[in-house]
């Protein structure tokens, strides 16, 4: 069975750092940060943990329907989506994820654009 990126990069011990780093960057970012303005901490962290785990083939999976429902009330446009994609790629790169693997994750992320952008 092919190893997932989640396993390749050392499982939760490493992925947890990526999650926390991405969380920091999202909140600091003035484009996507406002979406988290009034959301409880546990909910944001839970979302980020599952988001990164799912994209890297860890123990989380979202159905398309779940992703759509999670974002349908948010006014997310393509620019927001692009910005998150940039932040995600930067974060992964800073944590030693290889460029081809970042591409894989970015592609998986891109495939969900239609479900997130309203």
């Amino acid at each position: 069975m092919e190893r997932s990126l989640f396993e390749k990069y050392g499982g939760f011990a490493v992925i947890s750092r990526i999650v926390m780093d991405l969380y920091d960057r999202l909140l600091e970012d003035d484009d996507v940060g406002p979406f988290f303005e009034n959301v409880d901490l546990p909910r944001i962290v839970d979302h980020q943990t599952q988001f990164v785990s799912a994209l890297m083939g860890g123990p989380a999976s979202f159905t398309d329907e779940q992703i759509r429902r999670l974002h349908e009330r948010l006014d997310i446009n393509d620019a927001h989506f692009d910005q998150l994609k940039v932040l995600l790629a930067e974060t992964l790169g800073d944590h030693g994820v290889a460029p081809e693997d970042i591409d894989t994750v970015a592609q998986a992320f891109e495939q969900r654009r239609g479900l997130v952008v309203g």
């Binding site: 939760f12 947890s16 999650v19 926390m20 969380y23 909140l27 940060g33 406002p34 988290f36 303005e37 409880d40 901490l41 546990p42 962290v45 839970d46 980020q48 943990t49 599952q50 785990s53 860890g58 123990p59 989380a60």
Partner: protein
């Protein structure tokens, strides 16, 4: 620079929020840079409750009756971030005035990590439950294909060693007129009828310690005395056979479709093994299986045919009548018999 000045510099720059309040009115008299960074709009003279409307002053006063320390946690938003600080307030005196020394440690990251561990734990637990469920389904499927002891061996070693079982009783059964029935009826009806009958056979076999090995179309093969040898193997198979016939008789009385089985029973050596690499099944084959199959071909509908040796060896006496001869690999063709009487144990069942 004096020691006091150095101390003040340190106090101002330290990564812990420090503030002094007068204890009577709880007004700020000093705070360091870190404290100001966290609570940007704080000013000297403001009260603690201006800053923390939620702060439980009564609880603090209560704590100070027995102790000089009160600890609590407080959360607030710093830009978009939920900050959580652990607050320790010590009561002290300065120049005869009661003061409160307030020390705040930023535990936001700890809270964030706790939330992440909670999230991850839930994911893993959910996954574990799903894996367990899938494992149970696979196990159930494999146990439908092979005896439990064989499955255990397969699970432990990934292979099953073919084994010769010296003394196994075998029942081989098929249905008279099955080919015509398949042609004349809808596939769904055929399968549903077979499912119904085989399920009943499995249940009956179970009661007598038989292990159903396989069904191939209308052929049904079950054995007794393997994987563990059993003195009563032939009796188990004969009892199951009698009840299979009995079950069909009863079923035919209330069902529009009539099923009539032909049964061969035998005893002897068989090999049991998993056969196949990609699409494997557990199978038994060998002299006893071949013999049971040949005997079945001589059986009239709703009859059970066995060798003389098999019938004589049954612990429960039962009557039988010869139905022909069969070349079973001996010097001469052997006379074989149909069970005509009821096995005593089957009475009333």
């Amino acid at each position: 620079m004096s020691i006091e000045a150095i101390n003040e510099q340190l106090l101002r720059a330290i990564g812990v929020g420090v503030a002094l309040l007068d204890l009577r009115e709880l007004r700020f008299r000093f705070f360091n840079d870190t404290f100001r960074e966290w609570f940007g709009d704080v000013e000297i003279g403001q009260t603690l409750t201006d800053l923390f409307p939620e702060f439980d002053v009564a609880a603090m006063r209560d704590a100070f009756k027995d102790s000089v320390r009160f600890t609590t946690e407080a959360s607030f938003r710093l830009r978009r971030r939920t900050m959580t600080i652990a607050v320790t307030i010590d009561s002290a005196e300065e120049g005869g005035e009661p003061i409160a020394v307030l020390v705040c440690q930023n535990i936001s990251r700890i809270k964030e990590l706790e939330a992440m561990i909670d999230s991850y734990s839930m994911m893993v637990e959910r996954n574990t439950r799903e894996i367990k469920r899938e494992k149970e389904q696979v196990e159930k499927l494999l146990l439908n294909m092979m005896p439990r002891s064989v499955y255990e061996e397969y699970k432990s070693f990934g292979v099953v060693t073919p084994r010769l079982y010296e003394d196994v009783a075998v029942l081989c059964l098929d249905f008279a007129g099955f080919s015509e029935f398949v042609v004349e009826n809808d596939a769904g009806v055929v399968v549903s009828e077979l499912n119904d009958i085989y399920t009943a056979f499995d249940r009956i076999g179970d009661q007598f310690g038989c292990e159903r090995i396989k069904t191939v179309g209308d052929t049904y093969i079950t054995v007794a005395g393997m994987p563990d040898p059993a003195d009563s193997a032939s009796s188990s198979i004969a009892n199951a056979a009698v009840r299979f016939v009995r079950y069909l008789e009863q079923r035919n009385r209330s069902h529009p479709i009539q099923w009539r089985c032909r049964v061969g029973v035998s005893q002897g050596a068989v090999i049991g093994s998993v056969v196949g690499v990609q699409k494997y099944i557990y199978d038994v084959f060998g002299p006893a299986v071949i013999e049971a199959s040949q005997l079945r071909q001589l059986a009239q509908p709703m009859h059970i045919v066995g060798t003389r040796a098999f019938i004589q060896a049954l612990p429960d006496p039962c009557s039988s009548e010869p139905v022909g001869t069969l070349d079973l690999g001996g010097k001469e063709p052997e006379e074989v018999f149909a069970l005509t009487g009821r096995l005593d144990a089957a009475e009333g069942a």
